[in-house]
């Protein structure tokens, strides 16, 4: 079963806000100068910010903010965030892999940006709504 797709727009302002809230001030997430110096195409989103947005999609599908039992991802490709008003768009979809007898639902999640997967092995286990 496929779950309804959700999209998240990420701008430079969002990265600054996430840096402050999370305490991750690595300059590759706010300085083009530093990002290009280390070989990136430009400023990229924090992997953990992408993971947080996908986590929002998961809790949305679960229907409850406290339903996530397990959640893991592999960061495969950076989300490049241009310095404009549009920023980048991340599309998140998921498929139900399994519903267990003890009330857990296992999801296989896909997150893409510009048609390319930015995460792999993205899996979440949620408590199935009663």
């Amino acid at each position: 079963m496929e779950l309804p797709a959700q999209t998240f727009r990420v701008t430079r302002a969002d990265l600054i806000r996430y840096a402050g809230a999370s305490g991750d001030f690595n300059p590759i997430h706010w300085s083009d100068r530093v990002a290009t110096k280390v070989g990136l195409p430009g400023v990229i989103a924090h992997g953990m910010f992408t993971m947080a947005l996908v986590g929002r999609a998961v809790t949305e599908w679960a229907g409850s903010p406290d339903a996530v039992v397990e959640y893991g991802v592999r960061f495969t490709r950076p989300v490049v965030v241009p310095d404009d008003d549009q920023g980048a768009e991340i599309e998140v979809t998921a498929r139900v892999r399994e519903v267990t007898e003890d009330g857990l639902t296992r999801l296989e999640v896909t997150a893409t940006c510009l048609g390319e997967k930015v995460l792999s092995q993205a899996r979440a286990t949620i408590r199935t709504a009663p």
Binding site: Y18, G55, T59, P65, V68, Y71, V73, Q121
Partner: protein, 148 residues
């Protein structure tokens, strides 16, 4: 980047307690656009049976990323931070994090290896309350890129 495999299994002393503030949860939830009232309003969280506002699922990384500096900055292990790339991240929750929690992290090195000139480091952080109640186990896998 060659890392010493004898570090596998090493556990570090528990970190100083991190006090989870209600405003920090609200700030983090706002930064990721999580608008569910249970992240912001104690009454909404209490209606779900929780003592105070509920942290979003990736919130514990604030605590564990700071705690993992114990490993990443361990001079004996010798990780070159400028070559460090975050590869994987995983959380297994016993329960969500709530405002008012005082959390302690215990770091363990689960895996150290070198392949194709790159170093790989897997850490496990057991997050529990100061009272010893387990809250969440957090794994991170890092790649330490080799010199080209």
């Amino acid at each position: 980047m060659s890392l010493d495999p004898s570090f596998v299994g090493r556990t570090y002393p528990p970190t100083a307690p991190y006090q989870v503030g209600r405003e920090k949860i609200r700030e983090f939830a706002s930064a990721i656009g999580a608008t569910d009232p249970a992240h912001h309003d104690p009454a909404a969280a209490q209606a779900l049976g929780h003592p105070d506002v509920v942290a979003p699922p990736t919130f514990p990384v604030i605590v564990t990323m700071a705690a993992s500096r114990q490993i990443i900055e361990d001079p004996a292990l010798g990780v070159d931070y400028s070559r460090l790339v975050h590869g994987d991240q995983r959380f297994a929750y016993t329960r969500p994090v709530f405002a008012g929690d005082e959390l302690v992290c215990t770091n363990t090195i689960e895996d150290v290896s070198t392949r194709g000139g790159h170093g790989f480091l897997t850490t496990r952080t057991d997050v529990s309350t100061v009272g010893g109640e387990p809250v969440v186990a957090v794994w991170a896998r890092y790649v330490i890129r080799g010199e080209a």
